[in-house]
Symmetry: C2
Subunit: 328 residues, 2 copies
Amino acid sequence: MSPIPNARVLFNFHPESYPIPGETTVYDTTKTIDLQSVPLNGGFLIKTLVLSIDPFLRYRMNRGADDRVGGFQIGAPLDGFGIGVVLRSETPEVQVGEYVYGITIIFQEYTVYPALDQLQILKKHPELPLSAYLGAAGMTGQTAYLGWKAYADAKPGEVAFVTTGAGAVGSIVIQLAKQAGMKVIASAGSEAKVEFMRSLGADVAFNYKTTDTRAILEKEGPINVFWDHIGGEITDAGIEYAAEGARILKFPLISLKSLHIHGIFVPPLLQIPGYRDEFYEVMPRKLVSGEIKHVEDLTTGLDQVGEVMLAVLKGTNKGKAVVVVAEE
Amino acid sequence: MSPIPNARVLFNFHPESYPIPGETTVYDTTKTIDLQSVPLNGGFLIKTLVLSIDPFLRYRMNRGADDRVGGFQIGAPLDGFGIGVVLRSETPEVQVGEYVYGITIIFQEYTVYPALDQLQILKKHPELPLSAYLGAAGMTGQTAYLGWKAYADAKPGEVAFVTTGAGAVGSIVIQLAKQAGMKVIASAGSEAKVEFMRSLGADVAFNYKTTDTRAILEKEGPINVFWDHIGGEITDAGIEYAAEGARILKFPLISLKSLHIHGIFVPPLLQIPGYRDEFYEVMPRKLVSGEIKHVEDLTTGLDQVGEVMLAVLKGTNKGKAVVVVAEE
């Protein structure tokens, strides 16, 4: 058998904003490969079948993106999450006909790998297309399914709030929440997406661009599980309308973290046995000794209340504002 | 003894923005009281000594502020957190000369209360001024001290990040964190406040208006305890640079809540025993059966990678984007 073309997608330059097809990346057909005689050197040869296209690829195109995030090299092919089928193998790790998948699949038609390394064998369900293993049965699905399994602690009758509910991850989370017997509130940014979320079973689906999130959560909450894909203002709203003991699942994060968030409100803290007594035993003593410093802004005269309040609201007071009405 | 003036501060109308001293609230001296003969009817008479002036008072002035938040009544005196000394008593609950404090102190010079009810007896430290019991030894201090005690789980050598660190609460939190042996990062909105935070012992004090919070946290973090007084963007930054297992103490909140926040990142989840196997056993089956629906956006041809990436970045893809390079 003679050499055949081995097309690939090369990285050509660092884009400033959107990558330009054919310029930022170039489809290159100059290389060839002889599938029967290409040396494997103890490795294996695959035919690339499907490739996942994710926003993270753009990040790897940035000037200065380093090895840590897999910055692309100019002139070299892209790589990413994909699946190939094994055509030849010189390693017992991999058999001909098996599928291999992973995040180091080269964006070219045929590739020789020296070892499985970061790739893995895929045991494919006979009725599920390979492409699904890049999405709902791949990283996307793992984010939803494993994140939910690890942290949601879902209970029937509880309320879930799913942001970006029409996205690849959020749409699975809506279904997992429904299947766990929860009431599901879901948000997205268009009417079409709202309809899609309803079709997935969301009990309350709304467009966050035209509907006030807080008003929805006030009416439909409090929420027990909060799938927070967005951050910022909507995180605050979710926390505000979270039920005691709620679980907030935050995605994406740069690393896996479990954090504990506690709202502080004094009256119930004072009910915890020993808390009030300890405070009044310890704090005055530390203030007197100077171990803890504090700053007061004292104003004398009940007639000054209006002025002091104005100062407090404008933030011009220097320390805790107190009106001294009278000496004993 | 004859009647003497009993001045008070009346609520006059609902302000639109800042309250105007003398208009929104009126200092009224038309009432008198005879301290010796005013009937107590089984209650007690106090002389008001100090009053706390807090932003919450403004909230209570709003039109529509109801009983739940203690909305002020037009024509009636203000009330709030304060301390008085008992001049006469007909109840064994309270002795003459004792201090009473609480959130229902009327903003007038002398008041008869029918019972202690929501007020409490204050056991004052002989060397600490009463005013301190409205601040560092009062609600402000309780917020800092009890919130910290309940949730910070501070360990020597760990890192704390305190926002609004020059405020009445934050300034105490900085000191509690230092005394727990932590490294303290603190933020505020002016150079003077930065200096003040340094004087309290903050190891890293910065002006968030002129300094990038993320850059500071990147350099000085990760953070183990996050005293989050602000919300929004800074919450995201704090979460991003939080250490595994970090505690986020959020103040103010409308109610006491303990929430658990989990960042979701797939690779470590796949390392949890059983997780990977379960996913590949369950998810493909559910996708095949249709129990979980998913949406794919397939494009055929390796030469389409650039176009598909552009679609993904612009959000015009309809479902998980996959490039099909070849059939088997």
